[in-house]
Symmetry: C7
Subunit: 99 residues, 7 copies
């Protein structure tokens, strides 16, 4: 089942959530309640986009490999093989993170 | 009654739900509560699609035979002969599964 | 009063509900609670359709004589002479049944 | 006050409700609770219609003198002289009755 | 303060409510609870109208001096000098009364 | 901080509320509960307006210096230096007052 | 993690809230409950804007460096490195402040 792949429909975006390593400046690991209010994720796959009223395809605003900031609520959990992934609508994603 | 056929109207999609066989890496079968949060199904029939404001027909995003990922909620159960099938609106379907 | 006729307005569809005869493969009649979750009906009359924003008439997706699958909820009961009929909006109808 | 007249605005329709005489096939009059679920009425006056987004006037779907089927809920009661009449939006009317 | 004037904005209509004299055919005055379900008013001033999506101005459907039928609910009371007047959106007005 | 200025965004309008002096014909000052149901204000600044679907700018319906009638509810209080001002959307304003 | 940057998606605006120094005319610092009803912030980054129905990009109404007035409610808190920033939709911002 490892080789199964999900191609999202419309403007859905498949996300692999990233557990942000949270350390204080001094290197102490912070407990989860302090750090996990907003999540990050990697875009695994994107749908073809949504069509506007004229029938033109509006592609998603993110692409495979983007590291994105996720909203506090929303997204539906799905299971593909052993992985737990998440589906969001493209317009729910808050921003793209650059290092 | 076996030969009866349903042709969905508008952008409705007729789905035959697939009970995903769930095994851990070691081959142990998992109880239903762990594995069944999201369902899969095979597209049995699709409607002609919905018309946009200009009157153009927008065909459905899935086609007969597609294996699709279904949302946790939604879909209405119908009975055709001995089979229990489900109707979804095309835009409720989350994605297409490829092996 | 037998000769009275109702011409539906807009995209309304007049339906005569059909009590589906429900038998198991072995011919046993099933009690109502098992079989009657979704109803079927025959289209008795259709309205001229709804106009889109440009003023063009969009005809209904079903026509007189079609056997249709009805949603579990919705539809308003009306009485014409001795008959009990039902009015649905065209887009509430789920699909067309073919034998 | 008998001569006062109401000219409905927009797509409003002025209705004079008709108390349908309800008899069984054998001529017995039925009590009100059995027969009065849906009402009938005669169109007394119609508004000029509603304008679409381009500013074109969309006339009402019924005309003065039509006998119409009324929805179970909706409509606002008004008093003109001694008469009790009802105002509906054109699209609330269910159908036109022909004898 | 008597000379102050209100020019309504958009499609708002300024109304001076009229207490309809209510008499039975025989001339008996009816108590208020029987007669006052729907109100009448005189149009004192109208706004320039609302713009549609193309930016064209859609003038109000009533004009100064019209006697109009008011809905049972809605309208906001304002005080101009000694007078109590009411503001309605143009599309809330039910109809124009002619004697 | 006295020199700070707020330029409203979109169709927002900055209002300086006016405490209407309320006297009866005989010159008696009325208590606040009787007189303050609707407020008046002076337009201090207006935003550039909102864009319609074609991208054209629709300017606000009021201009700096206009004396306007404010709705009973709505508007958000802001503090600029020592002054308490109010922001409304242009379409919330009821009318323009002329002496 | 100090060098990480967030590029907002669509019409989102990244804001660094400013704690307004609040002094009375005489120079006394006011307690927080009196002064903090409305917040101010500096625009750190803006998204490319939202597309209208024709697919044209509508840029945000504010730009990097603008000092803006924030609504009392709304905005979602995010953490970038050591900083606490806030994301708003462009149309939630009330106005631009000029000294």
């Amino acid at each position: 089942m490892a080789a199964r792949r999900l191609i999202p429909l419309l403007d859905r975006v498949l996300i692999d959530k990233v557990q942000a390593v949270s350390k204080t400046a001094g290197g102490v690991l912070l407990p989860e309640s302090v750090t996990q209010k907003v999540n990050e994720g990697i875009v695994v796959a994107v749908g073809p986009g949504r069509r506007n009223k004229d029938g033109d395809l509006l592609p998603t605003n993110v692409k495979e490999g983007d590291k994105v900031l996720l909203p506090e609520y929303g997204g539906s959990q799905i299971k593909l093989g052993d992985k737990e992934l998440y589906l969001y609508r493209d317009e729910e994603l808050l921003g793209v993170l650059k290092d």
